[in-house]
Amino acid sequence: MAVVHKYLRLKKKFPHVWCAGCTNGIILHATIRAIDKLKIPKDDVLMVSGIGCSSRAPVYFDFNTLHTTHGRAIPFATGAKLVKPHLKVIVITGDGDALAIGGNHFIHACVRNIDLTVIVFNNFNYGMTGGQRSPTTPPGKRTTTSPFGSIDPPVNVCSLAMGAGATFVARTTAYHFRPMESIIARAIQHKGFSVVEVRCNCPIIYGRLNRLGDGAKMLLDLKEQSMTVEAWKKLPPEKQKKAEQEKIIIGVLKEDTKTPEYTEQYRALCEQLQAL
């Protein structure tokens, strides 16, 4: 039995809802391998999601799972984490879910530095509803609500997270399966708010509207477009800026282990008050 089988609701919930060529399964697999590597008991994992293609993921996992309302996974996860701090709480969300309708929660969770791991499946469009423009749709790209090419500047998930104070921020792509596995493991282990942006593909809608080729072609493109953060750091400053715009910089972009974590701070406050 493959590692993945131990963690799926195989008898109960398959086949899944995702399209052929969708990369969500790859991210799901990497997440499972990360949890397996860390030897976290299934009972101690709570997986929370919002609404969208990626947010359908928790139902397939044999963990404690919660599929919430659009954009609100982080608040639900925050409530559960504060009550049961020993739970490893993983939020599965998409670009629209996390950054548009749930943007305020995302920012404030970064600020709070609460020990949640947020995995943002960034596929540049709202796939579930039929391929509308999302907050990360690049300029000029066609979606069903930007038929002439998007004129809206896109949100950079990692820059936003770092700016708002998230203490662990990383980027990877659906192509980079092994690095993704170790990045997700590091994010889960990190004590504080961790964000992993996974650049992934929606070949059926976004890919088709922008003539990006089939699933396999789009996956290879992710490889071509990527550059590790280590390689990027070695570039001269003028080339760094250019690379930032043209390349997907992958790897751990920020890791801060000094900022206190929220649930620990809250418990410390309780103990201090109770000792009075």
Binding site: T65, L66, P75, G79
Partner: protein, 384 residues
């Protein structure tokens, strides 16, 4: 005897917070809003001292979400808000109702719509409490009419939420939330606390949305070995999304039946001068009931046959009680601090050709007894 009893001068919002603590509340998430903020302020002082969780969230929507997450992790959770915040909470409130997540939502009613009159009183969210979230759904709502009753009904709200696995809305009128009254503080041994029904079966057999005989499925907490799924999508008994018409119908039917089957146990109401059945019945609730009682007493002193029914459990509405009284009285008066909301519910249960007259005040001020008294008098005069 009296000496060992504890009485305190409390504000309605403080009584609500104190009632929450006595009712077992160990999680509060909220966002500042007039006229409910004192509840959050009180709990921000008291909960950390008792090892409970207080968190101020980034908005009203997040507060409601955190409450649901906390409850599913096993906490007795509450949030408090007022009109605009209550509107924002509706989607997640619908989630709590559909997924049968026990929690308490306090709505201190202020003048509306929109930003309205934040510091003034109203009862204009009564129908929103019933039908705020989209879709058919069960809901329980209670309306206290004094500070002391606020304390006891907050305890009761937690008990009902736990017992029936549903969100409970406590509808406080602003005037009660900000009024100070002598309030009896019960001792822990005087309080009966209800805990949610938990599964006893092996985890593999657990159905978090089981069609049980009493329509209330047991609820495990996350992290206790029952790895179950909760979704706002229409779900089967295992909690997994379904598009099967039979499963969708079964779920919605069970939720409706849960309320029908248990509504008599949820009903709380107070009758005044109802035996023998009077000619005129006044049906009212919350702070307006106090005004109405005065009007009824004055009218009775003048020999008018009038009685009063104070509805405490607003939802599920005590339909059979009203139906029975409506079959015997000659006319009904419904005073409320809005343009007519519960009167629609009363009219549904009147099967005879008798007048049903509303008395309304919606300018932010309390209704006066004369307004109700005059309506009683006018009704009486029409028959002479």
């Amino acid at each position: 005897m009296e000496e060992d009893k504890e009485w305190r001068l409390l504000q309605g919002n403080e009584a609500c917070a104190e009632g929450a603590l006595l009712g077992g509340c160990n999680f509060f998430a909220g966002y500042p809003i007039t006229p409910s903020s004192e509840i959050a302020e009180y709990l921000s002082r008291e909960l950390p001292r008792r090892g409970g969780v207080f968190i101020q969230m980034e908005d009203e929507i997040a507060s409601m979400g955190a409450v649901i997450g906390a409850s599913l992790a096993g906490a007795k959770a509450m949030t408090a808000t007022s009109g605009p915040g209550f509107s924002l909470k509706q989607e997640n409130l619908g989630f709590a109702s559909f997924c049968e997540v026990p929690c308490v939502v306090v709505n201190v009613m202020r003048g509306g719509p929109s930003t309205g009159q934040p510091t003034l009183t109203s009862q204009a969210d009564v129908l929103q409490a019933r039908w705020g979230p989209h879709g058919d759904h069960p809901i329980i709502a209670l309306a206290p009419s004094s500070v002391e009753e606020t304390l006891f009904l907050t305890i009761e709200s937690f008990n009902l939420a736990e017992k029936y696995r549903e969100p409970v809305i406590l509808l406080l009128d602003e005037v009660i939330a900000h009024m100070r009254e002598k309030t009896y503080i019960p001792k822990p041994e005087e309080i009966h606390l209800v805990e949610r029904k938990k599964p006893t079966c092996p985890p593999d057999d657990y159905l978090p949305f089981e069609m049980t005989e009493d329509y209330i499925p047991p609820l495990a907490a996350y992290g206790e070995g029952y790895r179950f799924h909760v979704t706002g999508l229409t779900h089967d008994q295992r909690g997994f999304p379904t598009n099967r018409p039979d499963e969708a119908e079964q779920l919605l039917t069970r939720l409706k039946m849960k309320m029908e089957f248990h509504k008599k146990d949820m009903w709380k109401y107070e009758g005044l001068f109802l035996e023998p059945v009077p000619d005129i019945l006044v049906v009212t609730y919350g702070s307006t009931a106090r005004v109405a009682k005065r009007a009824v007493r004055i009218a009775r002193d003048e020999g008018i046959s009038v009685g009063l029914l104070r509805v405490i459990t607003v939802w599920p509405f005590p339909d059979e009680v009203v139906k029975q009284l409506a079959s015997e009285v000659k006319g009904i008066i419904v005073p409320e601090q809005n343009q007519g909301q519960i009167i629609c519910e009363v009219e549904r249960y009147v099967r005879r050709d008798i007048p049903v007259v509303g008395v309304h005040r919606f300018d932010g001020s309390m209704m006066e007894p004369s307004q109700i008294y005059n309506t009683i008098k006018e009704m009486k005069q029409k028959w002479q």
